[in-house]
């Protein structure tokens, strides 16, 4: 396939979303949300119907990973649209839903990026609409403040990232990540380029930019403020799409750095190890000090980035299957995380106290009495975040921690990974304490100020779906875990072995 038709068929989901976004902006008002939903459904159907294709386009390369990223972006995107249906006031609806679709498009392109420039642009395509979304989500001044804060820090780290990319271009002489003939940056790095200090500097700066997207230590400071400022339901998107894009980008960059083919660099390993351990610990410990439910969930989403980084670090080196393939474990976890986190934020958004959205822990006092269904959904999502059975969050932790313990004995990073897994387990125990406070506020206390329901039926429907998905994924994880495995296997398949081949040479 060549030429225009190749672009059109391969990029159809992204094109549909972009067209949908433009239509939503133009139509605006009541019709924006249905148009966005329709575009997402169409794109979702197209992605699933087309299955995994392995087309290469200039700067883009489609494979099992990009299929998985597309599918879960759109799948969780449907839930995101549902819970945000009631936002914002009529005047800005078009822009609001348009921006959601643009952001999703960016995530989908990230999964297929095969060029540093495309990677950078698609990551920014994820973030820039979110700056707008934060500001649009609520008439509150704090939302504007959050938006500005997010924008400045985001711009700073984007500059860091692009600076790092320039180093990589400088040493490799190309911006292409995986050349068709085993060349590109991956080929360069595998052929001894990892020893070049500029390559390491470039990678480290790129990780800084990605760490910001993940809200990972030490670039996590913005997260709780921004999450608190934005409307609850959009926070679910805020804590999911950039992280998915960031983790995908990290996986791709690490792949180019020979992560899957034995050429692991100790410097990168320890850098990411410190980031992962710090992210988990900082997120969990600081969450303990909070009294605001949204800030608790904000810090908790930092901690979850740390758990997912364990999976990225373990990588597919141990072999197949999400129990030992860290990438597959991470890909499974991110979906579970996205849904449960969205559910928890959506539940906060569905409750209002004194005419303002519920935010403080005290606002949730006795919700189980006034809104038993809402409280149950929130409890399911919170127990899932905690990682207790019978919820999918438990399986996510099973997969991620198991991958940390499963590196072969010959692997030089086995002991640090086991240590990281244990740090993760201890962190999960710390995390239980503050999640429990949310559950306790709902169930163990008496009503302080009677809560009113907020939002619309779509929000409650989306919330119910999130909670239900957590239970269903626990009983039947195989559908998703197989897909995650397949996506990760795409990374270790023949094409990527070129790197190790050239290394041997």
């Amino acid at each position: 396939m060549n030429g225009l038709s190749a672009y059109l068929t391969t990029l159809a989901p992204e094109i549909v979303l972009t067209v949908g976004a433009c239509a939503a902006i133009l139509l605006g008002g009541r019709r924006a949300a249905p148009v966005a939903l329709l575009a997402t459904l169409l794109a979702f159907g197209w992605v699933l119907g087309a299955g995994i294709d392995e087309t290469r386009l200039p700067g883009l390369r489609f494979n099992a990973l990009s299929f998985y990223v597309r599918a879960i972006t759109l799948g969780v995107g449907l839930l995101i649209l549902l819970v945000n249906w009631h936002l914002p006031v009529a005047a800005e609806r078009g822009e609001f839903f348009g921006m959601i679709l643009f952001s999703m498009t960016g995530v989908m392109l990230t999964g297929a990026a095969n060029d540093l420039l495309v990677l950078f642009f698609s990551l920014e395509l994820v973030s820039v609409p979110i700056y707008v979304l934060v500001a649009l989500s609520s008439p509150d001044k704090r939302a504007s403040e959050a938006s500005v804060k997010y924008f400045f820090l985001g711009a700073l780290t984007a500059a860091l990232m692009v600076y790092g990319f320039s180093f990589l271009y400088g040493v490799a002489g190309t911006t292409e990540l995986f050349g068709a003939d085993g060349g590109g940056i991956a080929g360069y790095l595998a052929g001894g380029g990892m020893r070049a200090p500029y390559a390491l500097i470039g990678l480290a700066l790129a990780f800084a930019g990605i760490a910001f997207k993940l809200a990972a230590f030490p670039f996590h400071v913005y997260a709780p403020d921004v999450y608190q400022g934005a409307a609850s339901t959009i926070t679910g998107l805020l804590a999911f799409l950039p992280k998915l894009a960031g983790l995908t980008a990290l996986t791709i960059v690490l792949l180019a750095a020979g992560w899957n083919s034995g050429g692991r660099s100790a410097a990168i390993m320890w850098l990411l190890w410190i980031i992962a351990a710090g992210t988990m610990t900082v997120g969990n410990v600081l969450a303990l000090l909070q009294h605001n439910a949204k800030r608790i969930l904000g810090y908790s989403s930092i901690a979850h980035s740390g758990y997912m980084l364990i999976g990225v670090l373990a990588g597919p080196a141990a072999g197949e299957g999400p129990l030992r393939d860290g990438t597959a474990a991470m890909l499974f976890y991110i979906v579970v995380y996205g849904v449960m986190n969205l559910g928890a934020f959506a539940a906060l958004g569905a409750i209002s106290v004194d005419g303002r959205p519920a935010e403080e822990l005290e606002d949730l006092n006795g919700v189980a009495r006034t809104h038993p269904g809402l409280a149950l959904a929130l409890a399911i999502c919170v127990f899932s975040l905690m990682g207790l059975p019978p919820t999918a969050g438990f399986l996510g932790k099973v997969y991620v921690f198991s991958s940390a313990f499963s590196l072969p004995v010959t692997d030089p990073f086995r002991v640090p990974m086991i240590a990281l897994g244990i740090i993760g387990v201890v962190n999960a125990a710390i995390g239980a304490a503050y999640y429990l406070r949310i559950a306790a506020a709902c169930y163990l206390t008496e009503v302080k100020t009677p809560q009113q329901p907020a939002g619309d039926r779509a929000l409650r429907f989306g919330l119910a779906l999130c909670a239900l998905a957590m239970l269903i994924l626990f009983v039947w994880p195989r559908g998703l875990s197989r897909q995650a495995q397949q996506a990760s296997r795409g990374l270790t398949s023949s094409e990527f072995r070129t790197a190790s081949v050239s290394e041997r040479r």
Partner: protein, 705 residues
């Protein structure tokens, strides 16, 4: 039927919980009746399971677990060994067959240990639910639904044959109990619930790490990620788990289990949780939930990690003894009756741990029996305390007294359960406490019949002091509450809510079955003990024994037995040579043994290389003539394995009976004539193993170097 009965038993309460949440909240009577009916139905199912278990055990005594059923959960279904994958043609919804063997799933089955705990759970829950009819008066729907959910979790723990499933149920019980304590508890309920939850979760997350590492470790040994308990125990018994790994795994598992038990330094959550929980919560917590910890030690730590359990036994037993004494002393000074009973639980569970870590038949079977007995007597004590509290609204020993006069029925039951709890001969507590002490003593007996065990008389003496202390504080409590001048707080007894000054008929009906069970177990414990001993020998002690066996022929034969059985059941254990654990070297006393297992990639052909070095301990008697020719040189004092690999052949006339601990017991028995002793020499142990019992399967090819 047999394949379904356990699943039905586990999920019936869950169905009941769903049913109850559909009843309108204002129909209180219907909710109560539905909860009672569903839990009674679960009891019926559990009884059916118990009956079917024993029937199946009669039919097929060689199988270690009965009523097994499994459903793939993590398993990948097809385990086709395809290395090249066609990613493009795979439909998106199916994924492709993962070439990654996982054997983790929903697997249930019971043996003689779990069947009694299953029955105990199913027996106590309806009584606890019935007892809450007057005590719980708000948010009824949630309360009864959570009680049933809790029951399902506990039943699941005892049925699980997969470590991950075990862990899932183990953790799952936290959620309902957290809410039961936190919503319907006493004044400090939130603090109690949070402390209970965080303490237990923190410990069990370390267990979680242990579980995951076990799966990986099994993978390096057998080529599949398995958490199948049966396979894992086989791995442990063949020495495939090196001592260092066992050590760490033991600590990881102990972190979760010890907090649940609770063992001495980590028991602090228990008195608070017990005191603040509603009556039914305390009953379930003491009656069943604490047993999840001891059950985990028994089922996982002892069987799967034999070397670490032996090495750490003195340490664990010391903690247990500190718990016994400390719990008793703390109980002595309590003013709150409920707290007193709670501390007595710490003390009793210490006995349970002591028995388990004696690593002897008598001790372990006493410990398992103690789990059941403690559930009955302490559960009943909590029920009685709850009944007093409903009438007098206080649990302060100084505020109530002389209640035997207005409440003769209550006094009767309180005395019965007190005596049962302190181990009066003729009631259930005596049998189990005696067996525990016997096992502990035997464990250190180094005279002719016995190899040195980890414990000994040094452990018996303080434990026996604990028994005396338990008599002191329990009888003191009885005396203060029941006798002396009548003391009642003002405006009591509260006889609203259809209570009468003495126990109502409902309350008598709740306590009577427990009292009967105590009496029956006290007078005639043989059926329980026989059923338990069979499984303890087969599933807990025999794997341990094989692990430590040094006799070449014993190892060789048991390799074959195990493989043979596995092939019959369709589940093979394969031991791959792994670089870092090509063999094990474990030193214990004067013995050094080295053992290697290699296997061809796909089963069938097992090459067992076994090498014996060093000197046999001179403390072990030379084997009788009949056993020297290849009968297993089991550690004397250990009952023979109950499973034969091949169909049992008539015992060879030359075969010398394998020594059991009959002899020393026989010597003391006249001193303490009690039916309990009749249980110890288990008459149903089949013919001793002889050379004739074993024929090499043609499928097996072995090389002994």
């Amino acid at each position: 039927m047999d394949a379904w009965i356990l699943t039905i038993t586990i999920f019936l309460p869950l169905a009941g919980a769903v049913l109850i949440s559909l009843i309108p909240a204002e129909r209180a009577a219907a909710i109560r009746r539905a909860a009672l009916a569903m839990s009674a139905l679960t009891l019926v199912a559990a009884i059916v399971a118990g009956v079917r278990y024993h029937a199946a055990q009669q039919l097929n005594p060689q199988s270690d677990y009965q009523l097994r059923a499994q459903y793939p959960w993590f398993s990948t279904g097809t385990m086709a060994d395809t290395t090249e994958h066609d990613l493009v043609d795979t439909p998106w919804w199916a994924g492709s067959a993962i070439t990654f063997p996982v054997d983790i799933g929903y697997k249930v089955g019971i043996d003689g240990i779990s069947v009694w705990l299953l029955l105990l759970t199913a027996f106590l829950t309806p009584l606890a639910i019935w007892a809450s009819f007057t005590g719980v008066n708000e948010r009824l729907r949630e309360y009864y639904a959570l009680m049933l959910v809790l029951e399902a979790g506990m039943l699941g723990v005892f049925c699980a044959l997969d470590l991950l499933l075990f862990y899932v149920f183990f953790e799952f019980t936290l959620i309902p109990l957290y809410f039961i304590i936190g919503i319907w508890g006493g004044a400090a309920r939130r603090q109690a619930a949070n402390k209970f939850f965080i303490f237990t979760l923190a410990g069990s997350l370390l267990t979680f790490a242990g579980v995951l590492y076990t799966a990986y470790f099994a993978f390096t040994k057998s080529g599949e990620f398995t958490l199948d308990l049966v396979k894992l125990v086989k791995l442990g018994q063949f020495g495939a788990i090196p001592f260092g790994v066992q050590w760490w795994l033991f600590l990881a598992f102990a972190a979760g289990f010890a907090i649940k038990v609770p063992l001495f330094p980590v028991h602090t959550w228990l008195p608070l949780a017990h005191t603040e929980a509603p009556t039914a919560g305390s009953v379930i917590l003491a009656g069943v939930l604490l047993k999840l910890g001891t059950y985990g030690f028994c089922r996982i730590s002892l069987a799967m990690l034999p070397a670490a359990a032996a090495a750490l036994a003195p340490f664990m037993a010391t903690l247990a003894i500190i718990g016994i004494i400390y719990g008793a002393l703390a109980a002595w000074v309590q003013r709150d009756v409920k707290k007193l009973v709670a501390y007595s639980s710490v003390s009793h569970l210490g006995f349970c741990m002591l028995g388990l870590f004696s690593l002897k038949m008598a001790g372990v079977s006493g410990a398992v029996l103690l789990m059941v007995n403690h559930g009955l007597s302490t559960g009943a004590l909590f029920l009685i305390v709850g009944m007093i509290y409903e009438r007098y609204h206080t649990r302060d020993i100084h505020a109530i007294g002389g209640l035997a006069r207005p409440m003769p029925w209550m006094a009767f039951f309180l005395v019965v359960f007190t005596l049962s709890s302190i181990g009066l001969p003729g009631l259930n507590g005596f049998v189990s406490e005696f067996l525990v002490l016997l096992g502990t003593a035997l464990s250190g007996n180094t005279t002719d019949q016995f190899a040195a065990g980890p414990l000994g008389y040094a452990y018996v003496v303080p434990a026996a002091v604990g028994i005396i202390l338990s008599a002191v504080y329990m009888l003191w409590m009885c005396q203060r509450v029941l006798f002396g001048p009548l003391t009642e707080p003002p405006h009591t007894p509260d006889t609203s809510r259809s209570l009468s000054p003495d126990l109502t008929r409902r309350e008598i009906a709740i306590l009577t079955p427990i009292a009967l069970a105590c009496l029956v177990i006290g007078v005639y414990p043989n059926p329980l003990l026989n059923s338990m001993n069979t499984s303890i020998a087969a599933n807990i002690l025999e794997p341990r024994q094989l692990h430590f066996a040094t006799d070449e022929s014993a190892l060789e034969r048991h390799t074959m037995v195990a493989t043979d059985e596995n092939t019959d059941r369709g589940s093979r254990s394969e031991f791959n040579p792994a670089p870092e654990a090509g063999g094990r070297k474990f030193e214990r006393g004067a013995r050094t043994s080295r053992l290697e297992f290699n296997s061809a990639p796909k089963g069938r052909r097992i090459v067992a290389t076994s090498e014996t070095r060093g000197i046999r301990s001179s403390k072990i008697n030379p084997a009788p003539e009949g056993r020297r020719n290849g009968a297993p040189a089991l550690e004397p004092g250990f009952p023979p394995p109950l499973r034969g690999g091949t169909p049992p052949a008539p015992p060879s006339p030359r075969a010398a009976p394998v020594a059991t601990f009959v002899r020393p017991v026989g010597a003391v028995a006249p001193l303490f004539f009690s039916p309990a002793f009749a249980a110890i020499p288990s008459p149903e142990i089949p013919a001793p193993l002889t050379t004739d019992n074993f024929t090499a399967s043609p499928a097996l090819e072995r090389t002994v170097r």
